[in-house]
């Protein structure tokens, strides 16, 4: 099954990359209050149903895909 993981810098964590993007968007004339930059990971996981896929991907996030000190994650199962 296909799953998409969205990894984001946790709220309150300084995100210099996001700040640079935010400033660049402002320079282009966009009225931007804030930009934060995260990461998308698409995975195809062997699972018989969506729930099983979600459980497996959640474990992947905890063990590797996100660092819980600084990042939060969301999982979408197609």
């Amino acid at each position: 099954m296909k799953a998409t993981v969205l990894v984001r810098p946790k709220e309150g964590i300084l995100d210099p990359q996001g700040q640079a993007v935010e400033q660049s968007l402002r320079k282009l004339g966009f009225d931007v209050e804030q930009a934060r930059v995260g990461r998308v990971v698409d995975v195809e996981v062997a699972a018989s149903n969506a729930e099983e896929a979600r459980t497996k991907v959640e474990e992947m996030c905890k063990q590797l895909l996100a660092n819980p000190l600084i990042e939060s994650f969301e999982i979408e199962v197609a």
């Binding site: 300084l14 210099p16 990359q17 640079a20 590797l64 660092n67 000190l69 600084i70």
Partner: protein, 229 residues
């Protein structure tokens, strides 16, 4: 007999030979150990994880290297009280592996920084700083894009209270929380730092201050060997 120190080579390590050279210059028998090995060489007295860009820094710096086969042996070694030092990428790997607290993040400036920095040694009762005076100022180069150490505030306070924030920048170059340049684990046998002591062992190259850290480590190795004998 010379103390055997294992310097681990990951794909993308690039300070492995400098680490080996500097340890040998200080009298150790430093051996390069490939990441795919599953055991450290017999009679290893200390392990050094060198700087570089292991696995291209993919995902997060150090995040992939921690799964290298040799890391199981390094984790066991550290768990048994063995001395482990990580510099730069080695520090990042030790944090990702959970052997040291915190995590290294992108520099606040987003720039790769390569220059000498001054750090203060907070304690000298550790195997990595015994040759320093408490509060001593060391000048050691940094060269990193992701060197901003981070931990949540309550953890920083705990670590500070336990004296684990071993090196602190005099003039914070990268946005590290609490000016932290190096930390030690609670047991006192694993240390990581962003500056490169292996690049500062000869005043001819700008500073010899890094030798104080490496020589402290080798002193600890000798003391332990004598105690064991």
């Amino acid at each position: 007999m010379k103390a055997k120190v294992a310097v681990v080579q990951f794909p993308g390590s690039n300070d492995d030979h400098d680490a080996q050279w500097s340890l040998q210059a200080l009298g150790a028998d430093a051996q390069l150990v490939w990441h795919a090995e599953t055991e450290l060489p017999h009679a290893t007295r200390a392990v050094v994880l060198p700087g570089g860009f292991s696995y291209g820094d993919y995902l997060r710096c150090g995040a992939i290297a921690r799964f290298a086969p040799i890391m199981d042996a390094v984790t066991r070694y550290a768990g048994d009280g063995g001395l482990v030092l990580g510099t730069c990428n080695g520090f990042q790997i030790l944090c990702e592996a959970g052997l040291l607290p915190g995590v290294l993040r992108q520099n606040a400036s987003l720039s790769f920084i390569c220059r000498d920095v001054a750090v203060r040694v907070t304690r000298n009762d550790t195997p990595f700083t015994s040759r320093c005076e408490p509060g001593q100022r060391l000048v050691i180069p940094i060269k990193h894009g992701e060197g901003a150490w981070f931990a949540p505030r309550d953890l920083v306070e705990e670590l500070d209270a336990r004296g684990q924030l071993l090196l602190r920048y005099e003039d914070n170059p990268n946005g590290a929380v609490a000016d932290v340049a190096g930390v030690i684990n609670e047991a006192g046998n694993v240390m990581g730092l962003m500056p490169h002591p292996e690049h500062a062992v000869d005043p001819l190259l700008g500073s010899g201050d890094g030798a104080l850290i490496l020589a402290s480590l080798l002193d600890a190795v000798r003391e332990r060997s004598l105690a064991a004998a």
